[in-house]
């Protein structure tokens, strides 16, 4: 272990990795701070750039830019009450109330300080959990992988803040998309309608650019420009953060743990982590009445949570190729491209690369503090960049980026357009796009393990349930499937009880 750990340092501290990290940090800060541009979008548009980088540098750009973007999303939330990324939406009100009370620098400081701490704790969790789980995962057969993938997909439908039926529909749509092409058990063209472009299947990166970047450009057309940032002198950003760390140790740790766990849940990422942590903080607070009036407690917990979620998302992604959030859904594609195929063997055969990844995570979160302060100082100028001019340029980036990611195939531009429309319409109508994305990314894996298992078992269902871990995973899957029904029945019963009081 120690030898691969030492071997990781020269991998990280090379010129190209350090330059890539600094450049992507600045890029992530700006994209995150601009309302309407999300961390996932930042990652999706980075993919063409990663082609030309070494594997470690490529992963470094994704890790760094997403961490910065999640923090930077807090800046416009604090200053103008508009979340820069969805991950800040949960506590935008609280942060803005603090600004109204004249505590803008404290609010921004909390976001920065606890984001960095959250990121670091999340990384430590990744470092401890992933190799241990890898040991267990080495004994997995196709049966376990099948259930694991299905469980991952079901989780993505459970965590969606929408109708579970619609979430399952979105997931199935994603699986259907993954059926297209010749990558199936028989290698026959499936749903290609005679088109040679469809033989290779739907390029996942192009689809993700459509869903996460073009759909965002489309949405901007129905929204008004955000208000200008008022001129405000900001004092010391980090002042008082140590006291807050001492005052809310429990909140911070709870935020870290919840964030990491939610990040590791497939399909749920930083935004969900922030929502859950903010409401947990409120529920367990001794000063619940202060929430919503500019109280730092919830901010501490949710700020610590959403950045921890980023690292958590990499746990299932690296171990099983199951994305923990939408950012790692894109990162998995890059991992395959760079020969770092996800799987438990990654932790034994490419151990030094994994340690390099942890070091990058730590560096990125340390880099966040000075860069974040700089970003806060210049945010007034960055936020002045007119959306009406940024969005058109991003649209062209979508076209060119997908074109190059799909091996210079012009067909990818049509895929972007199609998935842009699909993503936009789905989001507007309550179909969670994250579930569809997981379906697209994991479809081939689900099918391969499903069909191989069926062939191995001679068409019998029994072996799917006879191995202990497979049975456990199957059990969890069915709980996930029927959970909404149970929740609905309980609520229905409660409403009946309320309707007929005191018999």
């Amino acid at each position: 272990m120690s030898s691969s750990f030492l071997a990781a340092f020269p991998l990280v501290f090379t010129q190209d990795v350090i330059i890539a990290m600094i450049a992507s940090a600045i890029y992530g800060m700006i994209v995150g701070a601009l309302p309407g541009l999300t961390a996932t979008m930042a990652t999706a548009l980075l993919v063409p750039v990663t082609f030309y980088l070494s594997p470690i540098a490529a992963i470094a750009t994704i890790i760094t830019s997403s961490a910065m973007a999640i923090f930077a999303g807090d800046i416009p939330g604090c200053l103008v009450r508009i979340p820069g990324t969805p991950a800040s939406a949960a506590y935008t009100d609280e942060a803005y109330k603090m600004t109204l009370k004249g505590q803008a620098e404290t609010a921004l400081g909390i976001c920065l300080w606890f984001s960095a701490l959250g990121g670091i704790v999340g990384t430590i969790a990744l470092l401890l959990i992933a190799p241990a789980l890898a040991e267990v995962a080495l004994s997995f057969s196709t049966f376990e992988y099948f259930w694991l993938a299905i469980l991952g997909l079901m989780c993505s439908t459970l965590v969606a803040r929408s109708s579970p039926v619609k979430a399952i529909a979105a997931m199935l749509l994603g699986l259907l998309v993954s059926c297209i092409g010749i990558e199936n058990p028989a290698g026959t063209p499936r749903f290609t309608f005679g088109s040679t472009d469809l033989l290779g299947g739907i390029d996942a990166i192009a689809a993700l650019v459509g869903v996460f970047a073009l759909a965002e450009v489309m949405r901007a057309l129905t929204q008004k420009d955000p208000p200008a940032i008022p001129d405000r002198k900001l004092g010391s950003i980090l002042k008082g953060q140590i006291e807050l760390t001492k005052r809310y140790p429990k909140q911070q740790i709870r935020g870290n743990i919840v964030g990491t766990l939610i990040g590791a849940l497939p399909g749920a990422g930083a935004d969900m982590a922030a929502w859950v942590s903010y409401s947990l903080s409120k529920r367990f607070s001794k000063e619940r009445e202060k929430f919503g009036t500019g109280h730092p407690e919830g901010l501490v917990e949710a700020g610590a949570s959403n950045n921890a979620a980023l690292a958590g998302g990499w746990i299932p992604a690296l171990l099983f190729g199951i994305p923990g959030d939408t950012i790692t859904a894109i990162a998995i594609g890059v991992l395959y491209m760079k020969g770092l195929n996800p799987g438990p063997t990654l932790f034994t055969e490419k151990a030094s690369s994994m340690y390099a990844l942890y070091i990058i995570f730590l560096l990125a979160n340390l880099l966040m503090i000075p860069l974040g302060i700089a970003m806060i100082r210049i945010s007034k100028h960055v936020l002045r960049a007119p959306r009406s001019l940024i969005m058109p340029v991003i649209m062209v980036f979508c076209a060119v980026g997908a074109f190059s990611a799909a091996g210079n195939n012009l067909y990818a531009v049509l895929i972007v357009a199609f998935f842009g429309i699909a993503g936009y319409l789905m989001e507007e109508n309550g179909f969670p796009v994250a579930a569809m994305v997981l379906g697209i990314v994991m479809g081939t894996m689900v099918e391969q393990n499903f069909v191989t298992s069926l062939i191995k078992s001679d068409g019998s269902i029994l072996p799917f349930l006879s191995r202990p871990i497979a049975a456990g995973l199957a059990f969890l899957t069915f709980i996930a499937l029927f959970w909404p029904l149970i929740a609905w029945l309980r609520r229905y019963k409660a409403s009946l009880d309320a309707a007929s009081p005191a018999r």
């Binding site: 063409p48 750039v49 030309y52 949960a90 009100d93 803040r161 109708s163 579970p164 619609k166 199935l172 749509l173 699986l175 259907l176 059926c179 199936n184 058990p185 028989a186 026959t188 749903f191 073009l214 450009v217 489309m218 949405r219 901007a220 057309l221 129905t222 929204q223 007119p386 009406s388 001019l389 058109p392 340029v393 649209m395 062209v396 979508c398 076209a399 060119v400 074109f403 190059s404 210079n408 012009l410 067909y411 531009v413 357009a417 842009g420 429309i421 936009y424 319409l425 507007e428 109508n429 309550g430 689900v446 499903f450 069909v451 069926l454 062939i455 001679d458 909404p484 609905w488 609520r491």
Partner: protein
């Protein structure tokens, strides 16, 4: 743009039926029980079921609950809603421009098509008139420079080759 659950549900059910039918017609692998048809048929039947459930408004209460929770964090803004309604069809402009790019970029070249795309969308987003042209031209040239020179992506040159 809102689509009624009846329509989207029926659409999904029909799509599922089509996937089931299309999957069932795929040739089997000789000597094997399961082939390429199994997975699309499973997914297709799933889609048929959830499509019907959605058309029957099952699960709607979960959505209402989530919406109510979100509404607590947002104050109503009738002006923004009216704006959104008045521009209902605008979101389809970017994908339409992408289709234009698909058909024209090889014939006309990347830079002119990209510049026109940027200009049209900036105009639709009510950008300052005097900024539209410079941003369109510089943006197209800049993206071309980065992708062709730095990332070596063969963007279509068209009849007007760039000096780099």
């Amino acid at each position: 743009m809102r689509i009624s659950d009846r329509i989207s549900g029926v659409f999904l059910a029909l799509l599922g039926a089509a996937a089931f039918w299309g999957g069932s017609r795929l040739p089997p692998v000789p000597g094997q029980q399961v082939g390429p048809s199994a997975f699309p048929m499973v997914v297709g039947s799933g889609l048929m079921i959830v499509g019907i459930l959605i058309a029957l408004h099952i699960g709607r209460s979960f959505e209402e609950q989530a919406e109510a929770e979100l509404a607590k964090h947002r104050q109503p803004d009738p002006e923004a809603e009216a704006f959104q309604r008045s521009r209902r069809w605008f979101p389809f402009l970017p994908p339409a421009l992408m289709v234009v790019y698909y058909f024209l970029s090889e014939r006309v070249g990347f830079v002119p098509v990209a510049a026109v795309m940027i200009a049209i969308l900036a105009f639709a987003l009510n950008a300052k008139r005097r900024l539209i042209l410079p941003v369109a031209v510089l943006g197209a040239l800049g993206i071309h420079l980065v992708f062709v020179k730095l990332l070596r992506v063969p963007l279509p040159p068209g009849p007007l080759p760039m000096p780099w």
